[in-house]
């Protein structure tokens, strides 16, 4: 689509005036019908041809452009009666509550007005938000008497007072009156009349100082009263005259007094506004809003340049163009209209009936009912989920998707079409593992590689190659799908068009060739929670239909192969490719900024394999070693003409100058470390790139904790680290394949003697629990500080049972050795834990719900198999059996309770943390670290004077710390020793 390119300088959000709506409308819509019998749209109907065209062949009746180019034109419906716009009902409510029902002014005194106007003007000048000020005004202006109307009322009260007084005085004194006093009174009355006239003629007193005026009248009345009080006599004529003069003022005063007491306005969701007990009609609301003087607009939060409050009550309804609500023709030839069209039909129909009834002079009741119905339709047209209104439904019972629903929420226009979009040059399929490709690579199915393309500029140096691709066409793999001519025309490569394209192609053309080995693509798995969820991989085109990835990149993507799918995006420009290659490549992300260690590394069998390869006593024949080295893409080692130890083999991977000491995962954390004399082979020493002692396990090159891997990245760079990891995992796999590795329940088998010991231990523990309970019942139990007796009992029981399970585990463990594959996996950190094994072999232990023993279910007992109030181990979910021996029905039930709680908790946790993350990301997304180390937002406002207070990039830190001094010293010691 072509158009005029302009820079947006400013965006104003305002209200459409009825005039605006009529001006932008191309036609008035009157008939609720859409098409006639012949299938042609009806004029002045909802599908009026002037509203725009959808068919690409036709031309628009309004603008003359072809279908597709015409964005459509609005129409309008004249509403028979005003209707409140749902979206503004709340605002209207607030405005009504803070303005006077008789004069329309904001219920603020003059000084308050001045104060807030000053504040608002200052904010507007600085382009700051005024919402909090408006909020203050709304609360302050919630008065029940108008300060403006009240002042008037006061004089009127005076007038009233004067009448009463003068009447009283006249009666008392009698009719004799001399000319002098008569004149005096007449003067005063005259003055009062003049003042009153002046006040009335000055209109609503807005351009003059209102107080001075009112005060003058007040003074005059008081003076008059004084004079009347002073005089000795009067005649009937003057009394009459006086009465006549003050009578209108008196009447006015009475009315003013009545109406200044403002009733509270309530909103009855979504659109009904109730004043006291009287429901205001939209017309009345509109009249009220019209009364608000323009000077007060800012005080109720309206910019007079772009809106008037009465525009929030609709008199004209804009009808969106047909392009916004296209009708779909079903296969049966039946036409199906958009939800918006359906709603507009409803509005038109009721509007028509309302108009007819009004013109025919139907009873008020009927008109009001129709008016209400029209209000309902217009309300649901804007928002079909407004609270307090039943949603309008389709014939099938499905709620209609109206304007607000199109925009709102995750599936709405904003979140699903503007913040995020469907894109071209992307692919998605199931993932599966491939241990033979590098961590940097991704296996792409040929089917995908022939579909997504890379644009290549044709030059005289690559023209031959490009011609070959075109010759292959779009079906044979290294082929091409499209050719773009220098005039930007895109031509699809077909067998028939191949020849002519080949003839015409020359430098300047662009060929969209198939994806090939070595291309850089973006690979992503949702949820994209951190930057390692999207990394750049090199393509390797492979047969079959799944994406293949190296097992080491499973942790950063959090991927497994139980049906996971992943997305791939192909870069379309050289710049993006270059940027991705240097910033997003997998090898650049081996270290995680989360904890300053490797997040990409060996998993599962890589770890067990490494241990089997390098543990003490593991030797390999030289020919096997050569095979393994070859498979691991290592340089062929010098022959030793003897058997190799596993440690020697592993040393082939290490950089020559590497020095390291650390304690392996298999370290038993003995009270006193024997260091070099470690019996478990857990003290790892690397000197000059030779593994002198210790076995390789998770701590060596595993994801999350691999120390050697971490060192290699930090000392030798990401390239070396990638090679190390690729080779190490392959070597480990070779090792595990040479030794053989399997596991079954036989691994958790323990001898009868062990089972007897465990049985005895558990029965002792259960006895001890019984004793505790007895002590509790006899009130011999002593409460722990800050705990009730009951809590103390619970804690003690939990402690006893917890110990029992641990002890039983220890017994089981003592019968397990390092020849047991399940134990190897648990201890090296490959998979599973010792707890898992002991639960299988010895005792499952206490099940918990809500962080304590199970106590819910029936009244005062967990299950009907127990007595009420029973507190024993068995009755509160202690599972005495092992998984292997099997759980009895009661144990099974308690176990399911605990298991269910765990499941529910994880489900809730992911939902909660997802929303929390969304809010955090929205708040922090455009902060960045400046060159000077400060953290700033997009306006340059300093958030932190130094990133993380210490300016350390956690990805380059030593597991979160700047440097591990102890480790550095140890390594220098080793190095010095080795150099000697």
């Amino acid at each position: 689509m072509t158009g005029i390119i302009k820079k947006i300088a400013q965006i104003n959000f305002g209200l459409l005036s009825p005039e605006n709506i009529r001006n932008m409308s191309v036609t008035k819509i009157v008939t609720p019908d859409t098409y006639d019998e012949d299938g042609y749209p009806i004029e002045a109907g909802l599908m009026d041809p002037r509203l725009g065209v959808i068919d690409p062949g036709l031309r628009c009746r309004s603008c003359g452009s072809k279908g597709g180019d015409c964005q459509g034109h609005f129409g309008h419906i004249n509403l028979a009666r005003p209707i409140i716009h749902v979206g503004f009902a709340d605002t209207i409510h607030k405005i009504l509550r803070s303005t006077c029902s008789s004069c329309g002014k904001v219920l603020l005194t003059d000084s308050e007005k001045e104060f807030y106007m000053g504040k608002i003007e200052a904010r507007i000048k600085n382009e700051e938000s005024i919402t909090d000020i408006i909020k203050d005004i709304y609360t302050l202006a919630r008065r029940d008497d108008c300060p403006h109307c009240q002042q008037e009322a006061e004089i009127r009260k005076n007038a009233e007072f004067m009448i009463q007084n003068s009447e009283e005085i006249l009666e008392e004194i009698g009719p004799d009156l001399d000319a002098d006093t008569k004149k005096k009174i007449e003067d005063k009355v005259q003055k009062l009349v003049e003042l009153e006239e002046k006040r009335v003629s000055s209109g609503e007193m807005d351009d003059m100082e209102p107080n001075a005026d009112i005060n003058a009248i007040k003074d005059a009345t008081e003076e008059l009263i004084k004079v009347v009080k002073d005089i000795k006599g009067q005649n009937d004529e003057v009394t009459k005259e006086l009465q006549e003069l003050v009578e209108p003022i008196y009447q006015e005063a009475k009315r003013a007094q009545q109406r200044t007491i403002q009733e509270d306005i309530k909103i009855d969701k979504p659109v009904s506004l109730v004043e006291g007990n009287y429901k205001l009609t939209p017309s009345e609301v509109r009249e009220w809003l019209e009364k608000i003087p323009e000077d007060d607009y800012y005080l109720v939060g309206i910019n007079p340049k772009i809106a008037k409050p009465e525009w929030m009550v609709l008199t004209v309804l804009p009808v969106p163009p047909v392009t916004v609500r296209p009708s779909i023709t079903l296969e049966t030839g039946e036409r199906s209209e958009d939800d918006l069209t359906h709603k507009l039909v409803d509005i038109l129909r009721i509007n028509q009936r309302l108009k007819e009834n009004m013109e025919a002079g139907a009873p008020q009741l009927i008109v009001e009912d129709l008016w209400e119905l029209l209000q309902y339709h217009v309300t649901t047209y804007f928002d079909n989920e407004a609270s307090g209104v039943p949603p309008a439904r389709h014939r099938s019972g499905r709620p209609l998707k109206t304007l607000a629903q199109r925009l709102k929420g995750k599936e709405g226009r904003f979140r699903s079409n503007l913040s995020g979009k469907r894109v071209n040059f992307s692919a998605r399929t199931v993932i599966s593992p491939d241990p033979n490709i590098s961590i940097n690579e991704v296996g792409v199915p040929e089917m995908i590689a022939t579909e997504v393309t890379v644009p290549v500029y044709v030059t005289e140096w690559n023209i031959e190659q490009m011609k070959k691709y075109i010759e292959n066409g779009s079906k044979i793999h290294p082929g091409a799908n499209y050719v773009i001519r220098p005039d930007e025309r895109k031509i699809r490569v077909y067998d028939e068009t191949k020849e002519s394209i080949l003839e015409k192609i020359e430098p300047g053309y662009v060929v969209e060739r198939h994806l090939m080995d070595g291309d850089i693509v973006l690979f992503n798995r949702q949820p994209s929670l951190h930057r390692m969820s999207m990394m750049a991989h090199e393509v390797k085109v492979l047969p079959h239909k799944t994406f293949r990835l190296n097992l080491c990149v499973c942790p950063p993507y959090n991927a497994d192969f139980d049906g996971d799918e992943m997305n791939m995006h192909v870069f379309q420009t050289e710049e993006s490719r270059a940027e991705a290659k240097s910033l997003m490549r997998v090898q650049e992300h081996i270290l995680s900024p989360r904890f300053g260690g490797p997040i990409i590394g060996g998993i599962h069998d890589h770890i067990s394999g490494g241990y089997l390869l390098t543990r003490d006593g593991s030797v390999f024949k030289e020919e096997d070693v050569f095979q393994m080295a070859q498979k691991s893409q290592l340089p062929m080692p010098e022959p030793k003409n003897r058997d190799w130890t596993g440690k020697e083999i592993f040393s082939l991977l290490l950089p020559n100058e590497l020095h390291m000491v650390y304690r392996a995962e298999i370290c038993r954390k003995c009270d006193e470390c024997l260091r070099e004399e470690c019996k478990n082979d857990a003290y790892v020493v690397i000197e000059n790139g030779e593994l002198k002692m210790g076995a390789i396990d998770e701590k060596a090159f595993g994801a999350f904790s691999g120390k050697i891997l971490d060192s290699v990245v930090k000392e030798y760079g990401t390239d070396r680290a990638r090679k190390f990891l690729d080779s190490a995992t392959k070597l480990s796999i070779s090792g595990i394949m040479k030794r053989g590795f399997t596991t079954s329940t036989a691994d958790e088998e323990i001898p009868r003697e062990a089972r007897d010991r465990i049985e005895e231990l558990l029965s002792n523990a259960e006895k001890k629990v019984e004793q505790l309970i007895e002590a509790y019942h006899n009130e011999e139990l002593e409460a722990l500080p800050g705990r009730s007796l009951r809590e103390t009992l619970e804690m003690k029981i939990m402690q006893v049972l917890g110990e029992a399970r641990d002890k039983s585990g220890e017994i089981a463990e003592s019968y397990f050795g390092m020849d047991n594959h399940a134990v190897i996996m648990a201890l090296t950190g490959a998979r599973g834990s010792m707890l898992n094994l002991t639960q299988i072999a010895a005792c499952v232990g206490q099940q918990s719900v809500r962080g304590g023993r199970i106590e819910r279910g029936y009244r005062n007992r967990t299950l009907p198999h127990f007595q009420e109030g029973e507190l024993g181990a068995k009755a509160s979910g202690f599972v005495h059996s092992s998984y292997k021996s099997g759980l009895d029905p009661l144990e099974f039930f308690f176990h399911a309770m605990g298991g269910r709680e765990g499941l529910v908790d994880t489900a809730i946790r992911t939902a909660q943390s997802g929303y929390m993350q969304r809010r955090l990301v929205n708040a922090l997304q455009d902060l960045n670290v400046n060159e000077d180390g400060t953290v700033r937002d997009n306006r340059g406002v300093v958030i932190q004077t130094r990133y993380g207070e210490d300016g350390i990039d956690p990805a380059k830190s030593d597991f979160g710390k700047v440097a591990d001094i102890d480790r550095l010293i140890e390594e220098m010691r080793i190095k010095a020793k080795a150099d000697k």
Partner: protein, 78 residues
């Protein structure tokens, strides 16, 4: 109520009002307008305690888990 010197509380970091020339120096070093600094309210208890005025820049030195000592600046606003 017992009146306590909040500045002596261990959780209250060190607040110092900067002099005019110091402000200029700090702003120049960080290349910021005063408005781009983090803000502190005039009715903040510490601001009241040290008697800072609107427009002053306060230097706050706090103990940091990662860096030992950490210095930040705040602009006093009404």
């Amino acid at each position: 109520m017992v009146k306590k010197d909040i500045l002596k509380h261990k959780l209250v970091p060190d607040h110092v009002v900067l002099k005019k020339n110091q402000i200029v120096k700090v702003l120049k070093a960080m290349e910021v307008h005063p408005e781009q600094l983090p803000k502190i309210k005039l009715d903040d208890p510490v601001v009241k305690a040290i008697g800072a005025k609107e427009g002053d820049v306060i230097k706050i030195t706090r103990n940091s888990q990662t860096a030992g000592k950490f210095v930040s600046y705040r602009l006093v606003l009404g």
